[in-house]
């Protein structure tokens, strides 16, 4: 009844593929570059007052500043770091240094990342912290679809190959998108990989949508659970969904009985998490675009 595929070299791991129609609108690279280019305060030493003065003196963009007697060198160095085609890692490094983690620009700037190298991900584990990971869902954008790939460990022995398989996905990623993934999922992946003495590729850009939800919906929602966001913001209704808190015991049931029946609701639940994550990014990008207008 499970339609997963066993890939060579990854014992005890099943891969499930599916897709969902879903379109995301990032700002155009030109608009983004224009907007970021006007942020003179991305240069060390320039604050709000000074950037206003500079603007009045006719230095509207970082490119203009490259000819400034005092700030020219800094501006040239910064733009050189970013490179002619604006290397996304370098730009994010600068933005992260000066902006709060919840700044909408940190989402818009994902426009710099090639679409298919943005990786949505979500984990299911056997407990809260330090517990084995048994299922990882990933999502990638392609045309007008979200390609969902789920990797399931079919036994506890499958955790190590599962992490290795996910590592392959990470190698094909420039940016990660998660919900509370900075504090939880990513930390846990590192911990579990260290547990098996297995390297895990690192991805420098990580958009944790929880930070953005907290800022955007402050005071408007009772809590920041993904379920609450789905219901109040995304309009997603999970009709027969398995509650998150039951996921570990359903998987344990599968381990004990060997019957795959409890796996279906877990896979569905985990798949919906990834779809909702993509929908949430779409909503936040729209709000960001609205705010910019």
């Amino acid at each position: 009844m499970l339609s997963g595929v066993r890939e060579r070299g990854f014992q005890d791991v099943l891969t499930f593929e599916s897709e969902e129609l879903l379109e995301l609108h990032f700002p155009s690279i030109e608009n983004l570059q224009a907007g970021v280019g006007r942020m003179l305060h991305l240069l060390y030493g320039i604050g709000a007052c000074r950037s206003e003065q500079l603007r009045q003196q006719g230095y509207a963009t970082l490119a203009d500043l490259t000819s400034h007697p005092q700030w020219g060198e800094g501006a040239r160095t910064l733009l050189a770091k970013w490179g002619g085609s604006w290397n996304p890692e370098a730009v994010f490094r600068t933005l992260r240094a000066w902006l709060p983690a919840s700044d909408p620009l940190l989402l818009s700037a994902l426009a710099l990342v090639p679409r298919q190298r943005i990786l949505f991900f979500d984990l299911e584990t056997l407990g809260l912290s330090n517990a084995p990971v048994f299922l990882i869902a990933t999502g990638r954008l392609e045309d007008r679809r979200l390609l969902v790939r789920q990797f399931l460990a079919t036994s506890l022995a499958g955790e190590k190959p599962l992490l290795a398989r996910f590592g392959r996905e990470l190698e094909e990623a420039t940016a990660l998108v998660s919900y509370n993934g900075k504090a939880f999922d990513w930390t846990l992946l590192q911990e579990r990989s260290a547990y098996y003495s297995q390297e895990i590729p690192s991805v420098e850009i990580h958009a944790d949508l929880l930070h953005h939800v907290r800022r955007r919906f402050a005071g408007l929602l009772p809590d920041a659970h993904l379920g609450t966001i789905e219901e109040k913001v995304l309009g997603v209704h999970r009709a027969h969904d398995l509650s998150s808190s039951l996921v570990p015991s359903f998987y344990s049931m599968y381990l004990e009985t060997g019957s795959p029946a409890p796996l279906r609701p877990i896979l569905d639940h985990n798949r919906q998490d990834i779809v909702s994550l993509a929908l949430l990014l779409r909503t936040l990008l729209e709000e960001g675009a609205d705010a910019a207008r």
Binding site: G127, L128, P132, A157, A194, Y195
Partner: protein, 740 residues
């Protein structure tokens, strides 16, 4: 001040009532220096401070350079810390990546040492960035410390929580050269067993990162340093015990407060304190509780009208403590009354005199306290004032026993199933547990963990798969069986096992925690909570225990004199029938207790007497056995480091299982703490010491200073002193009778 001057000054004092029953002089000890070539910056830092290394410090450095572990057990103030700081400074100075880990039993001790180490680090310019890392470390500093600090000072409880995050410590662990266990004598009994389990896990993780550090186990003087270090670390260590530091002549005065019945012990201690400070001697006085310390301090201040006498305790704010410590070092403060908080670890410099009010429970502690007097080669004076308690007063009659201290034995308990299961579960949560890493003796625990679904076997080893974090599901204190929390104002002060909770935390009990008195309001054993209130009271309480003991198995049995001694597992059913409130050594009230009895398994040691001499009459037999039992329990702390209340006993004219008159002692701790086994091994010395104690007591029928036990649940009835002496003589081989 010399002893003669002190004694003649006392004689001239109108309030002196001849309390000095014995005075001994320990001759001065010239410094024995050693020579060793050090790295230039370390040598320069020592020169600049005018420090020459003593022989034992050099021996420590040499042993470490030779790749050995070291058990360092020289006395207080002999410069133990410097002996292991130097290799740290040298090795970390040589290799800019090398690191060291220092473990302290208490956060406060780590904080005190941090400053010393920082000063040395700065003087040498070795850039070690020593840092403490524990529950108090601010969140924003943590990542930096894990990334950059090269010496980390922490404690076992904290380390237990950090081990599963070992990848965050990969840098420190991978380059670890030295692990220091300072003040290691705190790791005795069940606590020590847990530290041993923790260190085994640490070593496993270090090996995973390719690190094989050396260990320094630094402790107060003990009888079995090699064995103790091996029990803790699982490795062999070079034992360094010979003290090469300079010590001036030391006089030890045994003071009998009973010689002046009109004055309480507190008052006599206060009078002595003001007398000594009045003679220009800077003096530290050790009291059992903070209330007592404050009473002595205020009484002493009245006597001398001086403000230069203060009390000191662990509970003071760090800032206040630092000021007191500085005032002691610079001599502004002339007298200080402290709980055991000042016993060790904290740098207050050497003083001229120390007064010990009451025996602090072990000679190890007593000598740590005495060691606070003495600065370089200047003479020092120690005055010992006993309470009316058998062991306390025994030293008045046998001062040599006090003076010839060679250290108690420090033992760790046999590893219980709970202990093994806890550490195995944590180990499997840290790194998959390969089959060869769990020994045969771990099999039962592994099976239990598999059956409860906490461990699962994979091709990579057994992995932990519990829903709760292993290190939360198995906190160190619970692996030690400490499942009852002592809570005051919502804060957990300490944890204890259920047996000790019944013994010390019944409703109405006065409990001492770091010198402060707390009154227990309620004890909920189902929830595992004892609720306490901070209250200054001037009385203490003593629970009255009755026990029934069933022998489960005997592991060994040997003849000892006319008795047979055996040890093994026992099942104890214990009830606390009431408690008494005691003020100034006198029972002031009796209170009944209505607590359910409790049954637990522990270790026991028992002596049976099959051929009793005719002098012990049948009618007298129970009193004889009962009295001997009390005396044996009183003397147990002489042989193995424990609280007198940790050993309990029963005696019976006809034990149904042995079929003979029997005295049975047992570890009053669930699962046992390894005490009974030591008492079995040392039985003849124990019996000889008990015999000497009882026979040297001048009373006729038994008194609080020999046979009467404040803890006895049967009101010390019946007791026979002549009978007890015969029983004790019988159970010690003839040659041992006077060896006490």
């Amino acid at each position: 001040m010399r002893l003669d001057d002190f004694l003649s000054a006392l004689d001239r004092d109108p309030s002196y009532r001849g309390q000095v029953v014995h005075a001994a002089s320990v001759p001065a000890h010239a410094p024995e220096y050693g020579e060793i070539a050090l790295r230039p910056e370390v040598a320069a830092a020592l020169d600049q401070r005018g420090i020459r290394l003593y022989r034992h410090q050099v021996a420590t450095i040499e042993a470490l350079r030779a790749g050995r572990d070291v058990a360092l057990t020289t006395p207080t103030a002999s410069g133990k810390t410097l002996a292991f700081h130097i290799p740290t400074l040298e090795w970390l100075g040589e290799d800019p990546n090398a690191t060291a880990l220092y473990l302290y039993p208490l956060k406060a001790l780590a904080n005190d040492q941090l400053e010393k180490l920082r000063a040395l680090d700065e003087a040498c310019g070795s850039d070690l960035s020593p840092c403490t890392y524990d529950g108090d470390t601010p969140q924003q500093k943590r990542a930096w410390i894990r990334r950059s600090a090269r010496v980390v000072l922490t404690n076992p409880h904290a380390l237990h929580q950090y081990l599963p995050w070992h990848h965050q410590w990969a840098r420190l662990f991978a380059s670890l050269k030295l692990v220091v266990l300072d003040e290691a004598h705190h790791y005795r009994g069940v606590v020590g067993g847990n530290v041993a389990g923790l260190l085994a896990r640490l070593l496993r993780i270090l090996a995973h990162y390719g690190a094989h550090p050396q260990f320094v186990v630094s402790s107060a003087s003990i009888a079995n340093p090699e064995d103790f270090a091996r029990a803790l670390t699982g490795r062999d260590a070079v034992s360094i015990t010979e003290d090469g530091s300079a010590r001036g002549p030391r006089s030890i005065v045994f003071w009998d407060p009973m010689a002046d019945p009109s004055s309480s012990i507190t008052r006599q201690a206060a009078t002595l304190l003001s007398f000594l400070t009045g003679q220009g001697m800077q003096t530290v006085c050790f009291a059992r509780s903070r209330v007592m310390a404050e009473r002595i301090a205020s009484t002493a201040r009245r006597g001398t009208a001086t403000e230069a006498i203060q009390s000191y305790r662990a509970g003071y704010l760090a800032q206040d403590r630092r000021e007191l410590e500085a005032d002691l070092r610079n001599g502004r403060l002339r007298g200080v009354v402290s709980t055991s908080a000042l016993e060790s670890g904290i740098d207050i410099g050497g003083l001229d005199a120390a007064i010990l009010v009451g025996f602090p429970g072990s000679l190890l502690s007593a000598w740590q306290q005495a060691g606070r007097a003495g600065r370089g080669s200047r003479p020092s004076l120690v005055i010992y004032i006993p309470y009316e308690d058998p062991l306390d007063r025994y030293f008045l009659r046998d001062p040599e026993r006090f003076l010839a201290y060679a250290g108690e034995r420090l033992v760790l308990p046999r590893r219980t199933l709970r202990h093994r299961a806890g550490h195995l579960a944590c180990a499997a949560a840290e790194l998959p547990l390969r089959p060869e890493e769990a020994g045969v003796e771990d099999e039962e625990a592994m099976t239990a963990l598999r059956e409860s679904g906490l461990l699962a076997d994979t091709p990579f080893g057994a992995i932990y798969r519990g829903l709760r974090r292993a290190h939360e599901a198995f906190p160190l204190e619970e692996m030690a069986g400490e499942t009852v929390r002592l809570v005051c104002d919502g804060r957990t002060l300490e944890t204890m096992d259920p047996v000790r909770a019944r013994r010390d935390a019944y409703p109405g009990a006065v409990l001492l925690h770091r010198g402060e008195t707390y009154v227990i309001q309620a004890l909920d054993l189902t929830e595992g909570v004892a609720t306490a209130m901070r209250e200054d009271v001037d009385y203490s309480t003593q629970g009255l225990r009755t026990s029934a003991v069933e022998i489960l198995s005997a592991e060994a049995s040997v003849p000892s004199g006319g008795a047979h001694v055996a040890h093994g597992r026992v099942r104890v059913t214990e009830s606390f029938v009431g408690y008494k409130a005691i003020h100034d050594d006198r029972t002031v009230s009796l209170h009944p207790l209505d607590l359910p009895s409790h049954t637990y398994e522990t270790d026991g040691v028992w002596a049976t007497f099959r051929n009793l001499p005719p002098e012990i009459e049948a009618a007298d037999l129970l009193g004889a056995l009962h009295g001997a039992e009390h005396a044996l329990i009183s003397m147990a702390p002489l042989l193995v480091l424990c609280d007198a209340a940790d050993v309990a006993g029963v005696s019976m004219p006809l034990h149904p299982q042995t079929g003979a008159p029997t005295i049975l002692l047992f570890d009053g701790i669930e699962d046992g703490a390894g005490l009974a086994e030591v008492l079995f091994e040392e039985w003849s010395r124990l019996a000889a010491a008990a015999h000497a104690m009882v026979s040297r007591c001048p009373c006729d029928d038994g008194c609080p200073a020999c046979l009467l036990s404040p803890r006895c649940g049967s009101q010390n009835q019946p007791l026979s002193k002549p009978g007890a002496m015969r029983i004790l003589a019988l159970s010690a081989p003839a040659s041992r009778k006077e060896d006490a």
